[in-house]
Symmetry: C2
Subunit: 298 residues, 2 copies
């Protein structure tokens, strides 16, 4: 099923940030030549100087036209406009095209409009780092992490096999699912948590206008629950606005759960309240043991 | 203002769990004699064997009658029933009585009914440990952490001074506020976050019934946001049910914040959405730098 080890005669990495740099480093020994494409001269200079890529250009056409594998490593809306732009006409037949965007349905739809002959598949490596940018690049961030692959209308059996081989070359765990399902899952485990974190901080900040002791006394629980609110906004804006429907659905489901807990709280029946809280506690403990404990904490 | 170093001729610690054990350890060199009171024989045996206390008894009267300082270290409802029970009649005049309950208004109201002559003040050390129980006791967990003191009708100026001295003996930071204010603050920074964490896990678990890939793909963001949901339920039931009004108020304020964010999301105006998210991001970053960064992470 894995299609053998991944190799590339010429790998192009479009977008030299944390993800692009990290993918280039991780695939260094699998590619004969790596070209980086980025509009920012400083990023190109650093990428070449540090040996992350062999050469770098700001010109998309010259960067990708000879490649047999192209990785698009940019924010979601940039990925979509690249795919809906001219990149399709620059690519050789049978080139493998993968992106790393955090939402997949809009991107995979766009991939479906690429010329026949391009082997395009959506990708989402479920990993990251506190620090962003090319200088934080680290080829090991994919290790033992899920890497979702979402087939498109331009995904052939060969595309699928080669993409899986690429993911395995990263020591990541390939998980195939359709783009719609992916977006619903990440709405639940990533976008909803982000919005809750942000709304929590906004609530505490509102309290803080009357009483700054909220800030003085906030500690570990608040620290955990507010960390996501500090995420980079330019990326989050793209992510949320390309997943509005799934996020709105999850918000509605969340409100139902919160309302049920609140009803028990207000009814002043301690036993019933604890009975309502217990399944979530069990589910969290079960997740820690069954899923989270099995992989390396990034 | 600090009233000099804290000393006790005879310190009684009622409740030998993580908090009771840790307080006894932290005050070891400040007390000539420490008696532990606990209904559990095993806890008493361990506390004496490890030198956490000098002696231990299950009898509340004999444990506290000679003490000049009594610390009640139990879940909130247990603290309230101890105070509303006979402990007042067992105490010597001028004994300092402090509790460590996570909500303060009900406890401080109860303290107000104690016999005149008992110097009672509510306490809440804002600290903890992942692991609970006497065996996890650690005298250093109070260091540089806020320790809230809430005056009651039985708090004299001498009570206040001695309580502050005790808090400083723990290397903790005394913060005085009234019990009502305390309960509102912890509703915002602790109880609301807990309920959000629980409702989030319940939502993800509901999704998981149809698609177990939510569990496979959940990672760092979900880990942070779900950690509180795994807290000990017996304590949380007590805490929430003694702070219902403040928690319900904060839930209502939170819903408003979340609804405002959702409205921007649904309006498909990316710029407006990001403008709505930005103040929370700034507030979180500011809290990290101005407050959280200044103390040791427990």
């Amino acid at each position: 099923m894995t299609g053998g080890g991944f190799t590339s005669r010429h790998l192009a990495v479009v977008g030299l940030g944390l993800m692009g740099g990290s993918l280039a480093l991780a695939l260094r020994s699998h590619a004969q030549h790596i070209t980086g494409v980025d509009p920012d001269a400083e990023s190109r200079r650093i990428a070449v100087e540090r040996g992350i890529v062999d050469e770098a250009t700001e010109d998309l056409r010259s960067g990708v036209h000879d490649a047999d594998c192209v990785l698009i490593c940019a924010p979601v809306r940039t990925i979509i406009s690249l795919i809906r732009g001219r990149i399709g006409s620059y690519l050789r037949a049978n080139t493998l095209l993968i992106d790393i965007g955090s939402t997949k349905e809009d991107i995979c739809d766009a991939m479906g409009t690429l010329p026949i002959g391009v082997g395009a598949i959506g990708g989402h490596p479920m990993t990251g780092k506190e620090s962003s940018g090319l200088l934080s690049s680290d080829g090991s961030i994919y290790r033992a992490r899920p890497f979702v692959l979402c087939p498109t209308r331009r995904t052939t059996p060969a595309t699928r096999l080669r993409a899986r081989a690429l993911v395995e070359a990263l020591d990541a765990v390939p998980i195939e699912m359709n783009a719609h399902q992916h977006d619903r899952v990440v709405a639940a485990i990533s976008h909803l948590p982000y919005l809750l974190s942000t709304a929590l901080v906004a609530t505490v900040a509102q309290e803080g206008q009357n009483d700054d002791s909220v800030w003085k006394l906030a500690a570990g629980g608040f620290r955990d629950m507010s960390r996501l609110a500090a995420q980079d906004l330019s990326m989050m804006g793209d992510i949320l606005s390309t997943n509005t429907q799934a996020v709105a659905t999850l918000l509605a489901l969340f409100r139902m759960q919160l309302a049920m807990i609140e009803a028990r709280l207000l009814s002043q029946d301690d036993g019933a309240l604890v009975d309502m809280l217990r399944p979530a506690r069990d589910a969290r403990l079960n997740w820690s043991q069954q899923y989270d404990g099995k992989r390396t904490t990034p």
